[in-house]
Symmetry: C2
Subunit: 454 residues, 2 copies
């Protein structure tokens, strides 16, 4: 029989077990964090009806969608009725609209699932990847309180992820939009186009941006361009001081004033929720696609790895599910792209695979005692230790090397003498020491060691 | 704008948050159990290349497959190159063959992911559903030890799932096949066809089966038919006694003898691994599709809900990945169909949704203290309690009703007097009592209550 070469499509992240354990650990930290802040779990099907999924899409989105057809439908030459979700926002919108009457608002949900994009494959771009979203969705209205909850959950999760110092950047889109409007640029689309040019300041320099915006295509006055660039670059010794400087500009456009008030209140609430100023930065340049977000916006950066870009972004939106319901459903949320984040943290050496979920290996020192080793294995499992028995034939040294290579921390050893005295020897391959313990205390002793080294 | 009716396709299980919590709890128990027994996590992409996925498939399987195409590929009128996995076995086979040299054998893996089948939609049948698999895969050979590990993990997981009394049924396919061969029925396909008829005994009765098998189509001697039916119905006061009775039949066909020896050894090892005889039943009638499994086979039944059928099945197979590698990879494993199981346990009233992952609601008794309530919320979260703040305006009674309706167990109350004395009142909505506690002890007190009622 001719063999088929086993391989996956490009653009997916498939991990070896010890890598998967590290990744699963990341997802678990995120999930525990989301639950700690009172978000409830939601899972939606990977497929949605195409007409529901693609309402929002322009051509750009549609090109990146995977369509799904059963073999029957395909043979009949029908158009695909189903497509795979490309984010978690649209399925959540559909879910909330569909079950509106059964949900308690504000509805706090988290969703940790894979999404799909038919991207051209290239390094670091994924066609299948995890998104980890939290959102709070209100009915008719939603208190600004929730705009402050979001950075507090980000702060908690990234602290727990243990990926070094990070900073949450926060802004309010109304402030930016009001500032533009006060300068006479009212059209949101024009605002977006200008912001897109302004964003190039880091890469191309200020002169380049001024030249573009004062040039033929944009035709802006140089004075206004400089005022925009000074505004978004505004910094001070504290977030409070930045807000004071913004207030001191004396711009009395109503949208600008609303933005300033919202941002002040949100920053104050974030502090009361325990996020230290060291991890929160008011950044007036953040816009995040001026079309979708309408108020508070967030980005999060790892201070020692700025090149990675924002690792957690989101914001406040006016209406979640306008395509599916006439109810007004304002919300605020963020998303962590966990697959890309994991990939980048590994590349940067911040995450290392290695530790197994298996905590103990029961060795077979004496082939005559095999039934005792089975019992011992069962006892350790019963006592809460993730355990395997070395069931193949092999010299004792080989058994220990197996544990070491597999990343299993404890080797449990019991010879004839120990059996008679009701003792076992536990070898700690990380601490490189070993100790004897009464057999019925072995599980507890191992768990204590694990506990105390966490 | 015309609204689009929000709905999912039929045949998917989408849950409301409190149902999802119950389901997630089930998946967590399964995962913890699999890890306790030393299985390592694996996740594979939802899509595979069609030519890799569909090697095994006859027409039956192929009809049930979902094919996937990006919009670009679709427009060009190409045939779909990708398809969605219909089980976890084929992706695991592909994975093991692809990464053979990087894996340590025996390779123990668990996989908890969704699979897809383009089934005709009907009640209780799912097009998208979770499978929770464990397998041990050996290289060239695999010790019978692992055939015994599998029932021990089933025993642990179903005990933890808390779904009432269950029984693991075990058999060895060689025993059955050897018995047929000793009767002169050597052809495996004919064996399968006969077994399929014999399986109807519960529904149609013994006479019906005898009539069919002695009839024109099968043309078997009545004596042989009765011997088969007596054999598979064999029972005794213990598993050991059944094995003795089987041995006493004096059938000296080599396959039969091997089956008997294997089964004896596996049953003995299962006992040494701590599975009580009350939960393990030697059932000589279990065949599980005579084509794939070649040795030990398992089925698991909930004693009080036999109608549900087997909730966890599997067995030993000769070679996992013959399509992708010339290495011989024997294995043994089982699968829990978690979506269907959850659906049926809910229908049978064994699982009830209700409890929230949110453990505490901080109420706002005094609007002047809102900043203190923010601090208190942060303190409880910091202390490890899943907490939300009631951030909307609302009378105190309404706040308590919210907690009750949302399934949140503890309401945390702090008035002006309590603030001054550094106290909070904790109302336990399940125990229907309340207690006062120093503010900095509130989180610990809540966690202790939760702990002690688990």
């Amino acid at each position: 029989m001719e063999l088929i070469k086993p391989k996956t499509m490009p653009g997916v992240m498939e991990l070896l077990p010890n890598e998967q354990i590290a990744f699963q650990n990341m997802l678990d930290v995120i999930r525990r964090g989301y639950e700690r802040f009172g978000f409830l779990p939601l899972e939606t099907p990977v497929m949605e009806y195409s007409n529901i999924l693609l309402t929002k899409s322009g051509g750009e989105t549609e090109r990146q969608v995977y369509f799904v057809q059963s073999s029957g439908s395909l043979k009949q030459g029908r158009d695909p009725e189903l497509a795979m979700r490309f984010d978690l926002t649209v399925p959540t919108a559909r879910f909330v609209a569909e079950h509106e009457r059964k949900l308690v608002f504000p509805f706090r949900r988290y969703q940790i699932q894979r999404v799909y994009r038919g991207e051209t494959a290239q390094r670091g771009r994924f066609r299948e990847f995890y998104q980890c979203d939290v959102d709070v969705i209100g009915k008719d209205k939603l208190s600004l309180h929730y705009d402050a909850e979001i950075p507090s959950v980000i702060y908690h999760v990234f602290s727990e992820l243990n990926v070094g110092k990070f900073t949450i950047h926060i802004n309010n889109r109304k402030l930016l939009s009001g500032f533009f409007a006060a300068l006479g640029v009212e059209d949101p689309e024009r605002q977006t186009l200008i912001m897109r040019e302004v964003d190039k300041i880091d890469k191309r320099g200020r002169d380049y941006v001024v030249e573009t915006l004062t040039g033929e295509h944009f035709g802006m006055e140089a004075d206004k361009v400089h005022r925009i660039m000074d505004f978004i670059a505004m910094e001070a010794e504290s977030n409070r001081a930045v807000l004071d400087r913004v207030a001191a500009l004396g711009i009395d456009h109503p949208l600008f004033q609303t933005g300033l008030e919202e941002l002040s209140q949100v920053v104050e609430t974030i502090e009361a929720l325990g996020v230290p100023e060291s991890h929160l930065k008011l950044n007036l340049s953040i816009a995040r696609g001026l079309d979708y977000y309408t108020g508070t916006v967030y980005e999060t950066f790892l201070d020692d790895h700025l090149k990675i870009g924002s690792v957690c972004s989101g914001g406040r939106y006016e209406n979640l599910a306008g395509y599916y319901t006439s109810s007004k459903l304002p919300g605020v949320g963020i998303s962590i792209g966990a697959t890309r984040l994991f990939y980048q943290l590994c590349a940067a050496g911040i995450i290392q695979a290695g530790k197994s979920t298996i905590q103990a290996l029961v060795t077979q020192m004496d082939a005559d005692l095999s039934k005792e080793y089975l019992n011992l294995t069962a006892e350790l499992r019963q006592g809460g230790v993730n355990t395997i028995l070395y069931a193949e034939k092999g010299k004792f040294g080989k058994q220990l090397r197996y544990a070491d290579r597999a990343g299993i921390r404890f080797a449990v050893i019991m010879g004839r003498d120990e059996l008679d005295q009701n003792l076992v020897t536990v070898k700690d391959l990380i601490a490189s020491d070993q100790f004897q313990v009464p057999r019925d205390r072995a599980a507890a002793a191992i768990l204590e060691r694990i506990q105390s080294s966490n």
